[in-house]
């Protein structure tokens, strides 16, 4: 008996030790790195953050409720070291994308969403109303870097409901220092992107419309039915797990493609080039057209049969392995194009389709639709530190870390002060970071907040060039390859956007700051039911075997969505988005 008791006590002790040492792992590493922190803090924080000789003796942990994050937990690695050296803080990221939407509900009902909150505009307005967000009117005046964006911040906050006094609650995300109507990108967000080698192999045919695009893709597939490893390749490989996101009803792979015809989906509506609204169910609008286009592609055997069941990771693996011949997101080429492939001429690049008219949102001068705020429950000490941190996060130094990474590891600075990109696969291949910057992999230590106060297209005052490395003069020089020269010669422009502007096929929709009301409970049910119906039917229509089946499904879907109250939804959305449209019209004049 005694022995048994002893054994069980020992076991218990072992268990508890294991438990506590398990937890200690992270604190330990924090403690070991503290000594060198305390050495660097004073000098670093004074000359870089501009907060002037404040002491940050006590380590604080910021809980960041962050809708943009796709990592949940403590920030680690090099970015942790950067912020810890400057502010003696730890960042604890709370990510609804990881934890599920329910965490918003739970945390909001306790009255404390987080110390820093990053929310979508409509949710942010709700949180201001319920008192979850702090009024930062007085303190933001002492933040010189944030004050550079005073105009945008003021406009955003004045538009918050019931805020006629103009108090400041939120700081919009991804503001730029360009202008609300300018368009600084070289490539639009969505356009047909083809492999240059496969396209030139066919003799660079002119493409008049979507049917001819399918002809070209079919010829590519016939010439190269597999990739180099012998795995089957398809022009289209779709994935269903992003459906219904980004404030657009319908499946993700269709909604982006509607912008090829100048039509932008706004929830249940489509904004047409003539600035009028129609619904996604309009058979003359682009949602129908693009679904039909994908169906035609399927019937010609150009769509990966796994499209409806694979997840993003599988689709992504196929892009990286060269099993996909058409891409349409500007960032998607990142899974294939490297400086080497640009040199070889096997990279993806925009190929014009003659009947297309591209829609693009202008520079996000007033913000991208998300907002930073400070939680209402923070105490004074933490509040001060948060404002210091946010101000640094919007400073050229903070932005260089957030957008460009580490000097000497991600880029070098030339004699003229211009940056040159090095280790351009640091993120893709998770390269090890030098020990002096905290070690570990680059991707592991990458900024987990994943959201910026100032957009990468903004001009860095220290270099006179945008933060985004694709726009550095050194990068443009390095990527001015044979392929790029051939492309420029054929289409008579240096960059895709230049071509579009020259040929008058680009609509730039100005960036405005308006507050669009969120859904009522009734509307959110209708939206969810209609959205699910639209997604399910769209997938089945893409895989329809003939026109009759396609149209029968479209009609069935229309009847079902009307039964769920689609009319009410359209009415509600028209009311909301007319506010935005009017502001855009005003901005254009």
């Amino acid at each position: 008996m005694k022995l048994k008791k002893l054994v069980s006590l020992l076991l218990l002790a072992a268990l508890l030790t294991a438990l506590f040492t398990g937890c200690k792992g992270t604190t330990d590493s924090g403690a070991t790195s503290t000594p060198d922190t305390s050495v660097t803090t004073p000098s670093d924080s004074t000359d870089s953050s501009g907060s002037g000789g404040k002491s940050y003796d006590k380590t604080l942990t910021f809980d960041i409720y962050d809708v943009a994050a796709n990592y949940q937990g403590m920030q680690s690695g090099w970015f942790r070291k950067v912020v810890n050296d400057r502010f003696n803080i730890e960042l604890n990221i709370i990510a609804p994308q990881v934890a599920g939407e329910a965490i918003y509900h739970t945390r909001a009902s306790t009255g404390n969403l987080g110390d820093i909150v990053i929310l979508e505009n409509a949710d942010f307005a709700d949180c201001v109303k319920t008192g979850l967000v702090k009024d930062i009117t007085n303190e933001i005046k002492n933040c010189p870097n944030l004050m550079d964006y005073k105009e945008q911040i003021d406009v955003y906050n004045k538009n918050l409901p019931d805020n006629d006094a103009g108090k400041i609650y939120g700081i919009p995300c991804q503001m730029t220092n360009t202008s609300p109507t300018s368009y600084s990108q070289d490539v639009v967000y969505s356009s047909p992107l083809l492999r240059w080698d496969l396209y030139s192999e066919l003799g660079c045919p002119d493409i008049a419309n979507l049917d001819e695009l399918l002809d070209v893709l079919a010829a590519m597939k016939e010439a190269h039915p597999t990739n180099k490893d012998g795995d089957p390749a398809y022009p289209f490989s779709l994935w269903p797990d992003w459906d219904g996101g980004d404030g657009m009803m319908g499946i993700a792979n269709v909604v982006q493609l509607t912008t090829w015809y100048g039509e932008k989906i706004k929830e249940s509506l489509i904004l047409k080039p003539d600035n009028t609204f129609t619904t996604v169910l309009d058979k003359n609008a682009a949602y129908y057209k693009i679904t039909k286009f994908l169906n035609n592609a399927y019937r010609r055997g150009l769509v990966d049969p796994d499209s409806g069941t694979q997840n993003w990771d599988s689709a992504c693996a196929k892009m990286t392995a060269g099993q996909v011949y058409l891409m349409w997101y500007s960032w998607q080429v990142g899974f294939w194009n490297t400086q080497d492939r640009l040199r070889e001429g096997t990279a993806f690049i925009y190929i014009p389709v003659k009947d297309q008219l591209y829609y693009a949102d202008s520079d996000t001068y007033y913000g991208s639709g998300r907002v930073f705020g400070v939680g209402s429950m923070v105490d004074d000490e933490k509040y001060q530190r948060i404002m210091d941190f946010l101000d640094w996060y919007a400073s050229p130094e903070g932005l260089t870390f957030a957008h460009n990474g580490i000097e000497g590891f991600n880029y070098t600075v030339g004699a003229d002060g211009k940056f040159t990109l090095i280790n351009d696969n640091a993120l893709m291949d998770n390269l090890p970071v030098p020990e002096e910057w905290g070690g570990a992999g680059y991707q592991d230590g990458n900024n987990a907040i994943n959201q910026w106060i100032v957009d990468a297209i903004s001009i860095n005052p220290n270099t006179g060039e945008p933060y985004s490395n694709q726009y550095w003069s050194t990068y443009k020089q390095a990527t001015m390859t044979q392929m790029k020269r051939e492309w420029a010669e054929k289409f008579g422009a240096a960059e895709p956007v230049e071509y579009m502007k020259k040929n008058n096929v680009l609509i730039v929709s100005p960036n405005v700051s308006v507050s669009i009301p969120g859904d009522t409970p009734d509307i959110s049910v209708i939206r969810s039911q209609c959205g699910d119906t639209l997604n399910d039917y769209t997938w089945r229509m893409i895989f329809a075997n003939d026109d009759a089946a396609f149209d029968a499904m479209w009609d069935e879907m229309t009847a079902q969505m009307n039964g769920y109250g689609f009319d009410k939804l359209v009415e509600y959305d028209t009311e909301r988005f007319t506010i935005e449209l009017e502001a855009k019209k005003a901005a254009m004049n």
Partner: protein, 306 residues
């Protein structure tokens, strides 16, 4: 006399304390959550707290059956729930038969091997089961590769995307995952059968099959009935994980069961109030089903199990 009575009373109060922890547990984990039902009677939207001006009465219950499209959708979901539960009820004898046959295997290592292999899938999560299914059944997966190299098909067959035999295929996956685990109960019951009965049957000249039919099966019947009754009460809750991972646009019409529907509605679209209203109805129907099976059991076996 009075003293003794009081002592007895005091004793019984003390004994009551023994079950107090369990009552507390049940209260906290089974009754307190029922408070959440109030959400069905409000227009609820986070982060706004519930206030009386958002009280809407039975609005969400009525909106469920507003028009024929919505009724049809609900009926479809119920049809799927009943079909999938009904199928597993129909084949509920399967683990029992499996256990009996397993028990007949004479080679002990082989029997243990079979038992382990069939029990293991129970510990694999549904998410992993789906990734296994996807890697075997996708267009370049093992099954399609074999079928194509044998010349049986010339284009890959989309198993996961087909809307045919969804209920049966779901039952197959469930059985693959659960049969071995469910058989454990029956294996235990078989080992509890009096060896003398088997011997007596053998002496009387009964064959192997006759022993199974006349001795083993009747002895397993009480266990079987209890399990079936418990399943019946759970008729409406066939869980959602399995259907959640296997659902896609093509099979949703057949795979969306009640639990999945509630999840998709609340977590996918923020329709919390309507979801709660549906789950309330589900609870009510479940209680009715339980009472029904109980009285059925009383009628057939002469005793209920409640």
């Amino acid at each position: 006399m009075k003293l003794i009575k009081d002592r007895k009373k005091a004793q019984s109060y003390l004994e009551f304390l023994y079950i107090l922890p369990f009552i507390l547990l049940v209260a906290v984990f089974s009754y307190y959550p029922l408070y959440g039902w109030v959400y069905a009677f409000f227009d609820y939207k986070p982060p706004f707290p519930l206030t009386m001006d958002k009280f809407v009465g039975f609005k969400w219950f009525i909106s469920m059956v507003d028009n024929s499209i919505k009724v049809n959708q609900l009926l479809k979901v119920l049809r799927n729930t009943f079909a999938i539960s009904g199928l597993s009820l129909m084949f509920s004898w399967f683990p029992m038969v499996f256990a009996i046959f397993l028990n007949e295997i004479k080679s002990r290592p082989y029997r243990k091997f079979v038992q382990t292999v069939t029990t293991l899938p129970n510990f694999i999560s549904w998410v992993l089961v789906y990734s296994i299914a996807f890697s075997i059944l996708n267009s370049t997966g093992a099954v399609n590769t074999v079928l194509m190299s044998l010349g049986l098909i010339d284009t890959p067959k989309m198993f996961l995307q087909s809307s045919e035999h969804v209920w049966f295929r779901m039952w197959l996956w469930l059985t693959w995952k659960n049969a071995g685990w469910a058989a454990i109960m029956y294996i235990a019951a078989i080992s509890a059968i009096d060896e003398e009965m088997n011997e007596a049957a053998r002496i009387d000249g009964a064959s192997k099959l006759q022993i199974i039919w006349h001795v083993t099966l009747p002895s397993l019947m009480p266990t079987y009935f209890v399990l079936v009754m418990l399943n019946l009460a759970n008729f409406l809750s066939n869980g959602m994980e399995q259907f959640f991972v296997f659902q896609n646009a093509f099979n949703k019409e057949y795979i969306q069961v009640l639990d999945l529907y509630v999840y998709n509605l609340a977590m996918g679209g923020g329709g919390y109030s309507l979801s709660v209203a549906i789950s309330i109805l589900k609870s009510i129907v479940s209680v009715l089903l339980l009472c029904l099976t109980n009285s059925f059991s009383k009628l057939v076996r002469g005793e209920g199990f409640l």
